[in-house]
Symmetry: C2
Subunit: 309 residues, 2 copies
């Protein structure tokens, strides 16, 4: 019997247990609590493995993460023989597409400016809003980035993409690596950060990168706060090089009450809500990957230890 | 030779002249100015025909309006033999789809609440935002309403529609007439008003209609301000029956500075910008309808004098 252990807040285990009982009665589903390991565990479901647990699970073959990113984990501590699955589920993807679409349309149509005008009861149409072309650059072309690219294209936007290693997307100009940024950035009226946080992407979006965007470009961060140098972003907003930012993630979360982003007139702040995690669809996605893995496949959700994402 | 007369701000004639010169050298394109009628005119392009002009154009066969609505015209003053074409062009449709998508996503994901929280530097996630199902009801199923329905459906929303006379849309529950409202309204978590303003729809959205929506529903008005009884809407917002409104059109425009909508915490006000008029694509759309009309067809854009839209 395959045995799976849910090692996260036990209060959130309910929907997971239901999905497994209903769809996988052949799999033993257990919930971990301090001091009650299940040494027969083959797979773990967790956001971050509790300290020392992995070493007490001799049969462990895979870990299903509750997050899309792995930057909160110490990858070297995870044995090579244990496959690590990032969370990739429709709810997470839909949530991200919805958030980015909202941000892009808001920028494209001057909506955030209208919100400011409302505060002063000012009725003023924004001529720029009628600009027919807004070019969007998506940084990060994984499951989330690709879905965002596809959705924005279907809505008629001109989209290009950038990733650390080359990705081909039919009909979309894509660039890669540090050397690709010089061609990618000048064509992005709106830059969307969806890159995984790794040692290579920490602080990637800095003054020199922001300076290569068209003057007055907008920046949307839905990846991780540490992908951006926040002081450089503030300086670019102050100079007008960046006209607008929509930020869902920050170096420090919750964003401290005295942080200048809160009261910046050209920054829209949301409390890390871009991706909406839905346990039912997440559990179905895990089950699907589990079945594939048991059958010997290597689903695309498996993290590459060397790349670090 | 077919002769077309542009009777609108002559300063805006440039793109129209270019499109006609380039694509229709066989058609004589003229710009009207006070005192210089072109009595040989077959077709007029205008927002509202200048007073008395129609009676001085004996050959007039059609009027291409620069607006989608006809509520600013006195229809009885337009001879029955003159076909009236509403503006229906991709720019107008795209603009409307973009605006409504922004409003729907903003409501669905609690974005307008986050905007208010930002004002108080408050980091608080909105549990409601994870609600997987938001049902959208679109009132008005003309060119704009149908495009909005199609786009929201493709984004995964549950959409239903209502129109004065029955319209069938594959896969979408549709209702019609006063008697259809009782079935339509309770299923609309977000009600989108896209109905033409006619004597029958003036004040249509009133207290009794709003009361039939689910408690806390949202209302989006992108049609005309007079479709709504604004006092009833304010009362519904005060009682919590309506949780949120996104309003682009108002009974009085510009919205007076002391109007309560401006400072209402649950109302997002924009200055009548939902549809973005783009002269190039508009001119192409007019030319296409003109060719069809000359060939004897009756394009769908022709206004029904009796229905009034």
């Amino acid at each position: 019997v395959t045995s799976i252990l849910f090692a996260h807040d036990p209060k959130s285990a309910g929907p997971w247990r239901s999905v497994f009982q209903e769809n996988a009665p052949d799999i033993s589903f257990n919930v971990w609590e301090e001091g009650t390991d299940c040494p027969e565990t083959d797979y773990l479901i967790t956001w971050k493995p509790p300290a020392g647990l992995i070493s007490r699970l001799p049969r462990l073959r895979g870990i299903f993460l509750l997050s899309a990113g792995v930057d909160h984990l110490a990858l070297p501590d995870i044995p090579r023989g244990v496959d690590l699955f990032r969370m990739s589920e429709p709810g997470l993807v839909n949530g991200m597409v919805e958030y980015v679409t909202f941000a892009v349309l808001g920028i494209h149509r001057g909506m955030f400016r209208y919100a400011r005008q409302q505060a002063s009861h000012s009725w003023k149409r924004d001529r720029d809003a009628a600009s027919p072309v807004t070019r969007i650059g998506v940084m990060g072309l994984g499951a989330l980035g690709s879905a965002v690219v596809a959705s924005l294209r279907s809505q008629g936007f001109a989209v290009s993409g950038w990733s650390r290693t080359k990705r081909e997307i039919a009909g979309v100009p894509t660039y890669c690596g540090r050397e690709g940024l010089g061609d990618f950035l000048p064509g992005a009226d709106i830059l969307i950060s969806l890159v995984a946080l790794t040692p290579q992407t920490r602080g990637l979006v800095d003054a020199s990168m922001l300076a290569q965007l068209p003057r007055g470009a907008a920046f949307v961060n839905v990846a991780r706060g540490d992908v951006v140098n926040e002081n450089d972003l503030l300086a670019a907003l102050a100079s007008g090089q960046i006209g607008q930012a929509v930020l869902d993630v920050f170096a420090t979360e919750p964003l401290p009450p005295d942080h200048p982003f809160w009261s910046h007139p050209n920054v829209f702040v949301t409390p890390h809500v871009a991706s909406v995690f839905q346990p039912e669809t997440a559990a179905m996605a895990v089950l699907e990957n589990l079945r594939a893995h048991l059958a010997g496949a290597r689903p695309a959700a498996i993290v590459d230890h060397d790349r670090g994402y």
